[in-house]
């Protein structure tokens, strides 16, 4: 336990220092998450939200919450891992008595911490451009929302670990990740609230892991009535399904790894 604490502190500290070096790049990353804000513009101009029974305020709260959720659930593991594997940088990491995945997880958390000021800045700009759009969620919504964001991030990370392990077999596993991005984009609630979906599509979407990654935390944050237990239960269930798969694939992949370029 003491060792785990020490390792976590060392990893997080060093990765945070590293991420601070790249803060200009992280500002750009934060900027590339503007999609929910663009969609808010389109949705507020069309009558479709009202047709689905959403008030303009509900719409703007939802998309702003989705923006924040998206900012703190970005996973880029596969791009870093692919480069590390191709350049042979993975080999020294594998020699350490700690799975490299922990290091990547720590660098994701550090990147999120570096992102905080930029996200706040973008929210301030939104608040200045459209006064009255910002609101302060209740303490309960804030706490549950933050927890849901963390859970959603872990689920997304786990899903990407599975795709990432395919790097051991294929040189272009990142292309597969792009495919996975499509259902994430359209079914997660990032571009349209799930409430506006036709019932059949909605049921289909809820049977996939994607709505739990954006729609669920965003609605918690926006203060909409949500079955929190169901949401956290669904994320936990998906994690339980994916974890053994990730573990098996990682071990099988390591056995195949031949230290390219080393």
């Amino acid at each position: 336990m003491r060792r785990a604490w020490r390792v976590a502190r060392a990893l997080l500290g060093s990765q945070y220092a590293l991420m601070l070096e790249y803060r200009a790049e992280i500002a750009l990353w934060a900027l590339s998450g503007v999609l929910p804000l663009i969609m808010l513009g389109v949705w507020s101009g069309s009558g479709a939200g009202a047709a689905a029974g959403l008030t303009p305020q509900q719409l703007s709260h939802y998309f702003l919450a989705a923006f924040v959720v998206r900012q703190f659930t970005v996973v880029w593991l596969i791009h870093v891992f692919e480069e590390d594997a191709l350049q042979g940088r993975l080999s020294p990491l594998l020699l350490q008595p700690l799975s490299p995945l922990w290091r990547y997880l720590a660098s994701h958390f550090s990147e999120q911490a570096t992102r905080v000021p930029f996200v706040v800045l973008m929210l301030v700009v939104v608040g200045l451009a459209a006064p009255g759009v910002l609101w302060w969620p209740s303490a309960g919504a804030l706490l549950l929302g933050a927890l849901a964001i963390l859970a959603a991030f872990l689920l997304r990370f786990l899903l990407q670990v599975i795709v990432t392990t395919l790097c051991f077999w294929s040189e272009r596993a990142a292309a597969l990740d792009r495919l996975l991005l499509i259902p994430y984009l359209f079914l997660s609630g990032l571009v349209a609230p799930l409430d506006t979906f036709p019932p059949a599509v909605r049921r289909l979407a809820l049977a996939t892991p994607f709505p739990w990654m954006v729609d669920f935390p965003a609605r918690l944050l926006a203060g909409e009535p949500v079955n929190a237990a169901l949401g956290f239960g669904a994320i936990a269930a998906w994690c339980l399904v994916l974890l053994p798969m990730a573990h098996l694939l990682w071990r099988a992949g390591l056995r195949r790894y031949s230290a390219m370029g080393a």
């Binding site: 790049e25 999609l35 069309s46 459209a130």
Partner: protein, 275 residues
């Protein structure tokens, strides 16, 4: 003795043939990519159509655009996205690597224009499915739009105007990409700068009048998304206005000249890697 301009054009055409021949041969080594690209184009198109349909649930128009008009805009967006995958992304996202590793030295030393080399060195066939899907969607939507829209395209002048505006859109898109990529001379680690562009240009999926006024100004004067899809779509639907057409061509020329000037200026600050 041929005039020098003709000689130059022939030399560049010959280089281009070599560049693209070799890069196509390299890309075709990965046949699995073709399947992945096809699935990705179809999935993206289906998703975009689904969201567009959701947006039309509230009424028969989106920012004054009919369903078929909005489809033309979406088709143009898909076409431009395919162009990006074919030409812009494979070439311009590499500039930062050249700066980082110092291989830009070799590019600058070649007896060929460096901006041309950086912009046209490779071509990827994987944007072709998106371009075909975009053209198909535009054609289908124009047929749906009825005789009114088709009449707008009957005169050769209207067709020429639509093509000119499409060309202007391609030029603007290229210039935006090139400028962002060229910034890596100063900020070495900005490979994501071009990604930002890709994500904000998503705004071009919808007609510009669907946005609130503040965003409309932003998408016209700061990030010229309006000229990428909305203006050509209006010309295709036979209701283009002279003011927007002239504006589009002027913006295209300004952007191209700007990218050229920026590149000449940026080279002065290039100090090579590890020196």
């Amino acid at each position: 003795m041929r005039p020098p301009l003709i000689r130059d054009i022939r030399r560049y055409a010959r280089s281009l043939r070599c560049f693209w021949g070799t890069s196509l041969a390299a890309e075709l080594e990965y046949p699995l990519n073709a399947a992945i690209e096809l699935v990705s184009v179809l999935g993206n198109l289906a998703g975009s159509l689904f969201v567009l349909q959701l947006l039309f649930a509230g009424g028969p128009s989106l920012g004054g655009w009919s369903w078929s008009g909005a489809l033309v805009v979406l088709g143009l967006y898909t076409l431009l996205d395919g162009f990006t995958t074919c030409l812009l992304q494979p070439n311009l996202s590499r500039i930062v690597n050249h700066v980082q590793t110092g291989t830009l030295d070799y590019v600058l030393l070649k007896p060929i224009d460096s901006q041309f080399w950086l912009s046209a060195r490779t071509v990827s066939p994987w944007g072709l499915p998106a371009m075909a899907a975009g053209l198909g969607l535009i054609g289908w939507a124009l047929a749906q739009a009825g005789p009114g829209a088709a009449a707008g395209l009957r005169s050769p002048g209207a067709v020429l105007l639509a093509l000119a505006l499409l060309l202007a859109a391609l030029v603007i898109l290229y210039s935006l990409w090139f400028v962002l990529a060229a910034l890596s001379i100063w900020f070495v680690k900005v490979w994501n700068a071009t990604e930002v562009l890709r994500y904000t240009l998503v705004a071009g999926r919808y007609p510009i009048s669907a946005y609130p006024p503040a965003l409309r100004l932003l998408f016209t004067f700061v990030l010229p998304v309006a000229f990428l899809t909305t203006v050509p779509a209006e010309a295709l639907l036979g209701r283009g206005s002279a003011l927007w057409a002239v504006g589009s061509l002027v913006v295209a020329l300004l952007c191209l000249a700007g990218s050229r000037l920026l590149w000449r200026f940026a080279q002065r600050f290039y100090t090579s890697a590890s020196s």
